[in-house]
């Protein structure tokens, strides 16, 4: 290689990088020595160094370099051995997005776009949402502005890779002297090399996810201690202690409230007496067998009891009695004893139904509309009034309006924007609603009037949830915060900030000491209500989290996302126990059965699915040893007649209520 040329490169490089003084010194040096080189490093005669220098000079600013190098790396990765292929392919995505962002950052918009489009197909399957976001980034200023891009640029991606694959990759990079790729990989990827055989493909979610800067932070946060046990002296607790009362009393209570139950059903559903009677009988049988099961479980894993950190409201004895009664007569569900599902279908909503909520006993249904109205239906009354009307099968639309032509629901007006969420207090006497007008309103279902308007959020409030004991409630909003309120104050008590995007859903832990929030940043977080700190970050979803549910024993949490994936998490370890695949559209709603053995999910694909929780948690432990992939078992799928399922609720007696708006298929 011509020494002159090398000198030229070095000079150009120094100038470009702004090392003017060194460039001068270098030139002086050159003149001084006049060709006969005595510099400390004899770069003219060292071929390795010359090569390196040359490659530096080549990679100046040439946008086509990225494309060439990337496509070479890509074809190498795709042609690698099958055993190691999936691990090597994991590297491709971070390299791809950083190549793209480098190009954008240097102002090569056209090349960046061409590069992006030619390779996006490779990553669409897993990272579609991220790609859609990145696609719009076309100018260096966008890179700085967009949080997602910023976090990608600043953080390193963790990739688990086995020793051999890692060596393969390094070898390749050195052999082909693709410094560009090497640079990107060094800068943005943090390899976690492990020895031994490569993992089987696709089961390891953590290996593929790309997270922002907070992976380490999350790991740190997840070390914190949390008390997931149930409250001591809660009703369930009391029930278990006095527990298993004398059987005769139980039988009595059962038959009595069997009648009550039955009358309720009769009210809501005519012509089903036969079946409900049959159901009652079955329930009894189920109870008898389940008692044994309950004893077993209580001896096997007594859930730890914790003290409440909040001052909990005092419950009136009447309410307490009725809840205890309900709990005592709960139908025990399991994979063999399935629940009954009562479905409330909204008709004539004209695409305006934003949310639906069912009270704990299933008798009240509240729905929030995009015309800022809230409508509350009393199902028991409708059952009586519309009993004859319901017999006519499909044309119930007009008939259901009460006898004297009045509408069948209570209309609550007050919001000035679409109502996005509604929730009933546990006894059903209050209703909270949140709206795009940034307010939360408290309504009394007894007076049918607005009591309080809570202002505090700065953007639409996406979700609001009453705590399991009432009085307190949590809300979350587009302003990226979640807030804790109590009914008697108009300011929030706590503000939970930390999510990187909208907080879309919120859910209370059964012991009231924590809330969980799901966000558009694809994470779920658990917050301590007392301190307002984030205590857990759950990473694994691939799109916006839409629904959350906490298991009644407080140990597990389920979250559903936009793609139809449901994940079940262990709260104490912050690990995903198992992803539940099955839905193919947004999971709007999740609910655990009363004793936590079943999980119900309602989705935009017009189905209600039931999942077996108990067997799956056991299975995972067994299967973890075997190293097999684990899938939670889907027990049943109930398709509706083109009705997306908006809300689910297990009553205290384990009757599952579901609600949705009938959407006519596009004609």
């Amino acid at each position: 290689m011509d020494p002159e040329l090398v000198d030229e490169f070095v000079r150009g490089y120094l100038k470009k990088k702004g090392f003017n003084s060194s460039a001068k010194a270098f030139e002086e040096d050159l003149h001084h020595n006049n060709g006969s080189s005595f510099s400390s490093i004899d770069y003219h005669n060292d071929p390795e160094l010359t090569k390196l220098i040359r490659s530096f000079s080549q990679s100046k600013d040439d946008p086509t370099q990225y494309r060439e190098c990337y496509s070479k790396l890509r074809s190498w990765a795709y042609n690698s051995l099958d055993l190691y292929k999936h691990e090597l392919l994991r590297v491709m995505y971070p390299v791809f997005i950083h190549c793209y962002m480098d190009l954008v950052g240097k102002g090569h918009t056209q090349e960046a776009r061409a590069f992006f489009n030619s390779f996006r197909k490779d990553h669409e399957m897993i990272h579609l949402r991220d790609l859609q976001k990145l696609e719009g980034v076309l100018a260096p200023s966008h890179l700085e502005e967009m949080e997602f891009a910023c976090s990608l640029r600043q953080s390193k991606v963790n990739i688990k890779i086995c020793q051999y694959s890692y060596d393969l990759l390094l070898q390749y990079l050195h052999r082909t002297e693709s410094t560009l790729m090497l640079g990107i990989i060094n800068e943005h990827i943090n390899f976690q090399v492990y020895s031994g055989q490569p993992n089987s493909a696709s089961d390891d979610i953590e290996a593929v996810t790309i997270v922002g800067s907070f992976q380490d932070k999350a790991n740190h946060i997840n070390q914190k201690e949390i008390q997931w046990g149930l409250l001591e002296d809660s009703l369930e607790d009391r029930l278990e202690k006095t527990g298993l009362l004398s059987d005769s009393e139980k039988g009595q209570g059962e038959s009595k409230d069997g009648d009550m139950d039955d009358s309720k059903k009769r009210a809501s559903e005519i012509g089903k007496q036969g079946s409900s009677l049959k159901k009652l009988k079955k329930d009894k049988a189920g109870n008898a067998t389940a008692k044994v099961v309950r004893q077993e479980t209580s001896t096997v894993s007594p859930a730890p009891r914790v003290k409440s950190e909040l001052a909990l409201p005092v419950m009136s004895t009447e309410v307490e009695q009725s809840i205890l009664e309900d709990l005592r007569n709960r139908v025990q569900l399991s994979s063999v004893a399935m629940p009954s599902v009562s479905f409330y279908t909204f008709v004539n909503t004209h695409n305006g139904l934003n949310c639906a909520s069912i009270s704990h006993d299933g008798s009240l249904v509240a729905s929030g509309f995009s015309d800022s109205s809230i409508k509350v239906w009393d199902m028991a009354k409708i059952g009586q009034a519309g009993s004859c009307a319901l017999q006519g099968e499909n044309d119930t639309n007009d008939q259901i309006v009460g006898t004297n032509g009045r509408r069948s629901y209570t209309l609550l007006l007050g919001h000035s924007g679409p109502v996005y969420s509604a929730t009933f207090s546990p006894p059903g006497d209050f209703l909270l609603s949140s709206s795009a007008d940034t307010t939360i309103r408290l309504w009394s279902t007894k007076l049918n009037a607005n009591l309080v308007c809570y202002k505090g959020h700065n953007y639409p409030v996406w979700d609001v949830q009453f705590s399991p004991f009432g009085h307190y409630f949590a809300s979350c909003s587009h302003d990226r915060t979640a807030r804790i309120w109590s009914m008697d104050r108009i300011q929030p008590l706590r503000i939970m900030a930390g999510h990187l995007s909208d907080v879309d859903c919120v859910q209370w832990h059964p012991n009231c000491n924590y809330i969980a929030t799901g966000s558009s940043d694809k994470t779920v977080r658990l917050w301590d209500v007392q301190t307002g700190e984030c205590v857990r970050i759950f990473i694994g979803h691939r799109s916006m989290v839409l629904s959350l549910a906490m298991s009644p024993d407080g140990r597990y949490m389920a979250s559903g996302d936009e793609d139809g994936t449901i994940m079940m998490w262990d709260l104490s370890t912050a690990r995903c126990i198992t992803p539940l695949m099955g839905h193919n559209s947004c999971v709007w709603s999740l609910a655990y059965s009363g004793e936590g053995s079943l999980l119900a999910s309602g989705s935009a694909d017009c189905t209600v699915k039931l999942w077996d929780v108990t067997s799956s948690t056991k299975l995972t432990k067994a299967e973890e040893k075997n190293g097999n992939s684990n899938r939670l078992r889907s027990l049943r799928t109930f398709p509706t007649k083109s009705t997306p399922v908006h809300a689910l609720r297990f009553s205290r007696r384990n009757l599952l209520f579901a609600a949705g708006a009938l959407s006519k298929p596009a004609s």
Partner: protein, 495 residues
């Protein structure tokens, strides 16, 4: 997506004629970024409104988040439909239809939209989805199929729920005791629509077969049973194909049995008509799945028809059945045998030869059925071949004042003809009326149409001969009554 050119176009549209290329080059990517940003927010709004289609007001609220003015004039309750621009792969535009202002102004006020309401149903009972109309029907059927394969037939009764057993007992009881009541009519309606009846099918099939044998002389019950069968056959939700081979013989029995009902007042002709339509619709519906259904039914009917030892009511049923099966069956099986049959039939119709009033009446009815069958064939045939008859007709008969607007008159005529298909019994009377009116014109008819056909294009020569083959004999057999079935404008050709 947003190109420099589109920025320039937008600039021009708002009155900026001189936009330097640097500006548009800088604006284009930024515009695209902002649009994407807004869309991302809009999608969030869509998700929170629990929808899967993006609507205009989602974009509006997304704009509101950014303190921007919402878009105006794009809101619609229906989802907007986009059309792909021809010759462009990814260019779409709103399919905006032109609306006549006059029509909008004159249109009656639309009804007020119905108010939101709520209904409740059981989606599942103890984990099993009940088969009710409110639930998705497809799943129900596939579930049942699965059940069927698992259970062996002996255990079937155990699968039957109490409700279904009760249902079956009630319906069968009503069919036998109160066949005319409103109760039974409601039961029939339920049989026709209820999706959960599949498990009952074998029982109903068996019931119908047994009761028909037992009640051959009880007209009301026979009719009730036929209505029951028809309702079951019409139910779109049940999977009746496997039971057809058991059900069809009973039905055919009701069509071509020697005696249906005991008393003279029993109108077994009506029963035969009713059954014939049921047979016809069944063959239409299941013909493609059950490929030898149609041939088998046809064969048994034809057998009856061609057997001279059978009684006239049996012949009548066979003819009606074949008519219901379709005109092709009539053309291939009835018409070729028409001549010998008529030779047997005609003597029965004349009072001098057949003294028995009832038998003569029957003969006339058979004759009427034959006329209708043949006439329909003729009508269909002429309608399909009218292209071949009409143009020359116009050229030949141009002087005729009535034919100035042949197209219009043709359309009117055909609709007239369809709606005015005379009910069976009137045929004879009306036929004679027509006969007297047109008596004079009948004789030259074949010749004139021959004239027309001579000029017809050669391509339709085969058709013409086909028309020839069965058309003119028909006129020979039935004479003027055939004219009723000739579309009016073709009629003109003959006149």
């Amino acid at each position: 997506m947003v190109t420099k050119e589109s920025i320039e176009v937008i600039a021009q549209s708002i009155g900026l004629s001189t936009l330097s290329p640097e500006v548009s080059a800088a604006l284009a990517p930024d515009v695209e970024y902002r649009v994407r940003e807004v869309m991302q927010e809009a999608i969030k709004c869509m998700r929170h409104a629990r929808r899967t289609t993006l609507m205009a007001h989602d974009v509006d609220s997304a704009l509101q988040f950014r303190n921007l003015e919402p878009t105006c004039g794009f809101t619609s309750s229906k989802s907007t439909r986009f059309k792909r621009a021809p010759e462009h792969r990814d260019l779409y535009f709103l399919d905006d239809k032109d609306v006549e202002l006059k029509n909008v102004l004159e249109a009656p006020l639309p009804n007020a939209p119905p108010d939101a309401s709520i209904t409740s149903q059981w989606l599942a009972i103890d984990g099993i989805q009940p088969c009710i109309p409110q639930n998705s029907p497809l799943q129900a059927i596939s579930d049942l199929k699965r059940l069927e394969y698992k259970e062996d037939p002996l255990a079937a009764r155990h699968v039957l729920s109490k409700e279904l057993q009760l249902y079956f007992d009630k319906v069968t009881e009503w069919a036998l005791t109160l066949p005319g009541s409103t109760l039974f009519r409601q039961a029939l309606a339920s049989l026709e629509t209820d999706p959960g009846l599949h498990p009952l099918l074998p029982f109903f099939t068996c019931f119908i077969a047994e009761e028909i044998v037992r009640n051959m002389d009880n007209y009301p019950i026979l009719l009730a049973l036929m209505r029951l069968a028809r309702s079951l056959l019409h139910n779109p939700h049940v999977h009746i194909e496997p039971y057809l081979h058991q059900l069809m013989p009973s039905i055919i029995t009701c069509l071509i049995a020697k005696r249906l009902g005991r008393r003279f007042s029993d109108n077994h002709w009506d029963l035969r008509n009713f059954t014939a339509t049921a047979v016809g619709s069944t063959c239409k519906r299941f013909g493609h799945v059950y490929h030898n259904l149609l041939p088998r039914v046809t064969r048994s009917l034809l057998h009856t028809f061609l057997d001279p030892t059978k009684t006239l009511p049996q012949h009548y049923g066979a003819i009606q059945g074949m008519v219901a099966l379709g005109l092709n069956v009539v053309r291939f099986h009835v018409l070729p045998n028409l001549e010998p049959y008529l030779q047997l039939l005609l003597p029965e119709m004349v009072p001098e030869k057949q003294k028995d009033e009832a038998k003569r009446h029957g003969a006339w009815l058979v004759y009427g059925a034959l006329i209708v069958a043949a006439g329909r064939c003729l009508y269909e045939r002429l309608k399909t071949s009218q292209t071949l008859l009409s143009p020359p007709a116009r050229s030949v008969w141009k002087t005729d004042g009535k034919l100035t607007n042949p197209r219009q008159s043709k359309r009117k005529a055909s609709s007239d003809n369809l709606t005015h298909q005379p009910p069976l019994k009137k045929i004879a009377a009306e036929g004679t009326m027509v006969m007297t009116q047109m008596h004079g014109a009948i004789v030259p008819a074949p010749q004139q149409s021959l004239v027309g056909r001579d000029i017809a294009p050669r391509t339709s020569a085969t058709l013409t001969t086909d028309v020839d083959n069965f058309l003119f004999p028909l006129f020979d057999y039935f004479g003027e009554s055939m004219l009723m079935f000739t579309p009016k404008h073709e009629l003109n050709v003959f006149l």
